[in-house]
Amino acid sequence: MKTQSGISLFEFMICLLLMSASLLGIDMLHVTSVQAARATLYFNTAMQQTDVMINRMLLSRCENMTDIFNQWNDENKALLPRGRGAIAGTYPDYIVSVFWGGEKVVECTLNHPGANGCVRQHVRII
């Protein structure tokens, strides 16, 4: 009686498991790339928003900024998920920051891209 030399179900299951793992890996790669692209968009948008505020501050020399600040923060909310902006400092040096995402951060010490992040730029009103 000849013994069969084909693969057993167990071997096939192992093979399937490995293949599933690799397919899931490829899928994760796509998810990660989409997340990275979204994080880049948020970062660029936040940078644009800090630029907008800096240019408005330079033009108005930081006078009568309340309406401008409120309008700017409305834009931040509309453009970024939970977007919010902050201006810290005293004349003539200010730090303009924009935050987005879920984490509640009060101060932005470094530019931080990602799903939750912040950007900051220094401006001197001259």
């Binding site: 397919l23 796509h30 790339s33 907008v52 240019n55 108005s60």
Partner: protein, 268 residues
């Protein structure tokens, strides 16, 4: 008589069926994955295209707005006038002009500038080769006291200098190192392509249009004018005096994404 009993070593029907089912399952997973990857790649590609188009629009507008009214050494203001007997003119009131239809026209001296290397005759100037000119270019010749617009009739380019015969005589004598530049007059506008999708266009001083970006949903420009106690963003139809405009707020929409910029005039 003995009968020989053969042992079958082939596959059974159930084996074949199982192999077919598992193979089909695997193939369908692979196909789904391929479709997902293809869709994701297309989305990424579209997203990058969108980013590129947005960057092209914002950069083109920002650079031009920053240069609006630049005429070299002299500063364009209400007391300084550029002499011109041509259909073109650059002044404080037309350096940047918008229209209700959403067009924006910007005028300035093109960079880099060439410097006059020999004392200029009234209808011939000799400049260095920092910028090459050609016949029919509208030139802005300026020192720190005067500025004039003239048309280049003929240009003889040498190794280090170029001799430009002018179509009109200059009113003033310009000494080295007076500046010679091309007058830039660019009009930006949206042209409908398909449905609600527009192309971002540039029409140059010769009336030739160029497409700078495609796939634009909308472009809104607001002009910052100083009111009694604050700067106010106002649409073109409400701007009474264009020399009072100090900045432009750009609001660009591509599909469902928005890009914003705020550019001060003369902030180059």
């Amino acid at each position: 008589m003995m009968r020989s009993k053969r042992v079958c070593s082939g596959l059974m029907l159930t084996d074949v069926m199982l192999a077919i089912i598992l193979s089909l399952l695997l193939l369908s997973i692979l196909f789904e994955l391929y479709l997902a990857a293809h869709k994701s790649l297309k989305q990424q590609h579209d997203f990058l295209d969108m980013q590129d188009n947005a960057a092209a629009v914002i950069n083109a507008l920002s650079n031009e707005i920053r240069e609006a009214g630049y005429i070299g050494c002299p500063r364009l203001d209400d007391n300084f006038h550029v002499i011109s007997h041509l259909p073109w003119i650059i002044s404080q009131t037309n350096r940047l002009v918008g229209t209700e239809a959403g067009e924006l026209t910007v005028r300035h001296a093109g960079q880099p500038v060439s410097l006059i290397s020999l004392s200029a005759d009234h209808d011939v100037i000799t400049t260095d080769n920092s910028r090459h000119f050609s016949g029919s270019d509208v030139l802005l010749v300026s020192d720190c006291k005067h500025a004039e617009l003239v048309i280049a009739e003929k240009v003889n380019a040498g190794k280090k200098t170029q001799k430009i015969k002018l179509a009109q005589a200059l009113q003033y004598a310009y000494e080295p190192p007076a500046e010679v530049s091309k007058l830039i007059q660019n009009t930006f506008y949206l042209a409908r392509k398909k449905g609600d999708v527009y192309s971002f266009m540039l029409r140059d001083i010769n009336g030739i249009s160029h497409e700078l970006a495609a796939g634009i949903s909308s472009l809104n420009l607001l002009y910052s004018v100083k009111t009694t106690n604050a700067w106010k963003d106002t649409p073109a139809k409400n701007v009474m005096n264009w020399s009072e405009v100090s900045a432009v707020a750009i609001d660009l929409q591509i599909q469902d994404k928005t890009w914003r910029a705020y550019v001060r005039l003369g902030s180059l």
